[in-house]
């Protein structure tokens, strides 16, 4: 079954490309040196937007493979950062193998397996594999580290992909890619808006020990922007009425904020600034998808509970 593309998806994607073009022109103005961080960041955005556009418009399989790759890169970056024991190499291999399986369950639309595979089966299997490796020194730490990584980078992110296969047809104008686009767009723009409002008006720090850049002004301004965008976009891409659009916007704003903070705390704990070097100007892939690991499952269940 190929993706049912609705014209709103193409229209909104067109809008995103236009917005990015505008952002590029502005950045060229304010950052004249070609290798400045701002310019690198915009360049990385072009690649992200191009890949997402391709994945969402080509076919459902392409989209699943794409999100599976994102999970793979995220888990790999996470496992590169956190300390792992050499005795657990085989367990790490099993952890990687859970990615194609998890996305396969989505491909065959097996919701029951998708929702318990990692929280139940991988949760039980990993300690078994660790026990067989035989090293009890640091056992809890190894198990906890791996569970956290799998839950965030594979389980949470894969909810984004399950939006693609939610039962179609009940709402003629709503498509899987439309819901994914709505979630991606609002999550990322919420990040950008919170950053911009914070830079412009930020005074009162919310969490100075975890992320000194987060301010009340940035959060409120960003959340308002996200609510507004949600109200504007919902009728194009989602089955939501105005009330639910505002609720979804609020959910994404708050969840995105805490997703971001949660990864900042992890980086602080490990004593690093950027999670990697995959996306010049942003850092690693975790720096970009941190908010998504929170917004994807919460938005998914909000939508599924109320509409599907």
């Amino acid at each position: 079954m190929s993706v049912i593309l609705s014209s709103p998806v193409l229209a909104i994607l067109g809008g995103v490309w236009g917005l990015l073009l505008l952002a590029t022109l502005v950045v060229w103005r304010i950052a004249p040196t070609p290798d400045s961080e701002l310019r690198q960041r915009v360049r990385s955005w072009w690649i992200i937007v191009a890949l997402c556009s391709l994945a969402l418009t080509f076919s459902r399989t392409a989209a699943l493979v794409f999100f599976g790759l994102v999970s793979f890169l995220a888990l790999k970056e996470y496992l590169t950062l956190v300390p792992t024991r050499q005795a657990d190499r085989r367990v790490l291999f099993w952890a990687y193998l859970s990615i194609p399986l998890q996305y396969y369950w989505i491909g065959i639309e097996w919701y029951g397996m998708f929702i318990i595979f990692i929280p139940v089966y991988m949760f039980l299997l990993i300690p078994v594999a660790l026990v067989l490796a035989g090293d009890t020194q640091g056992y809890l730490r190894a198990a906890g580290t791996l569970h956290w990584g799998l839950m965030s980078m594979v389980f949470s992110l894969s909810h984004l992909a399950f939006l693609l296969v939610l039962p179609q047809g009940q709402y003629p104008q709503v498509s899987g890619p439309g819901l994914v686009l709505f979630l991606l767009l609002l999550t990322e723009l919420n990040d950008v808006a919170q950053f911009c409002w914070g830079k412009l008006f930020g005074k009162h720090k919310i969490s100075p020990t975890v992320s000194p850049n987060k301010t009340v002004e940035g959060f409120v301004g960003g959340a308002m922007t996200t609510l507004l965008l949600s109200a504007l976009l919902a009728s194009w891409l989602t089955p939501f009425g105005l009330r639910d659009a505002l609720l979804a916007g609020a959910l994404i704003a708050v969840a995105g904020f805490f997703g971001d903070l949660s990864l900042s705390a992890l980086k602080r704990d490990l004593g690093i600034k950027d999670s990697g070097r995959l996306l010049p100007g942003h850092g690693g892939i975790l720096d970009r998808i941190d908010s998504l690991t929170y917004t994807a499952p919460l938005f998914f269940h909000f939508t599924r509970y109320l509409y599907f």
């Binding site: 790999k76 590169t80 050499q86 190499r89 990687y96 990697g276 070097r277």
Partner: protein
């Protein structure tokens, strides 16, 4: 000729996709990599993947002239391994055990450099402890002193010892780094040469 063809196939279909996409090696200082031979590419050694990784980050056109110096005792064991290592990978076997003079042990390496090849050389002599630089052996000093006109490219590798450590057979993906350091040349002083080399192989530049 066809082993060279196999080498291209091996790198294009297996080594490059695996190391550059599945594992992911981020190269810093790429502009300092050699464009032509002769060159002595020197790196810290933690994994069987090290030599393949160094060959994979060089421009593809240099592949026929890129030759890792590798332990004769290990790689010339068995007919098939020996054929694959010598013909397809193009290793230069070095008898690391036995205590013969440098001129004898490193004869083939010297000849390859004189012929304009790019030789991958691990001055620790062995893979050693994971992710730690062991004591450098004196072979590298002898090579630098004997062939002072050959430029030396120090490259610090990180992560491959986690991907495939000594004694493991199952590679597990982690992001890896390769720092290409400032080029070195022999300037006549043993101590200064060794210090400069160790600095480049331990500190990111």
């Amino acid at each position: 000729m066809w082993p060279i063809f196999l080498r291209f196939l091996f790198f294009l279909l297996l080594v490059k996709p695996f190391l550059l996409l599945a594992v992911g090696i981020s190269v810093r200082g790429r502009q300092r990599l050699p464009h032509q031979g002769p060159a002595l590419i020197v790196a810290n050694h933690n994994s069987h993947l090290d030599a393949l990784a160094l060959a994979a980050i060089l421009p593809l056109r240099l592949l026929p002239h890129t030759r890792p110096a590798a332990s004769a005792e290990y790689f010339l064991q068995g007919r098939w391994r020996s054929w694959f290592a010598r013909k397809v990978i193009g290793i230069i076997p070095v008898a690391t055990k036995g205590g013969a003079a440098h001129a004898e042990v490193l004869h083939e390496v010297k000849e390859a450099l004189l012929a304009g090849d790019l030789v991958i050389f691990f001055p620790e002599g062995t893979r050693g402890e994971p992710e730690a630089l062991g004591q450098l052996k004196s072979g590298i000093v002898w090579l630098a002193e004997t062939l002072p006109e050959v430029p030396i490219y120090p490259i610090r590798l990180r992560g491959l010892g986690k991907v495939l450590p000594k004694g493991a057979w199952l590679p597990v993906p982690f992001f890896c780094d390769a720092w290409v350091g400032e080029r070195l040349r022999w300037e006549g002083d043993r101590q200064r040469f060794m210090t400069a080399l160790v600095t480049r192989l331990t500190e990111p530049t």
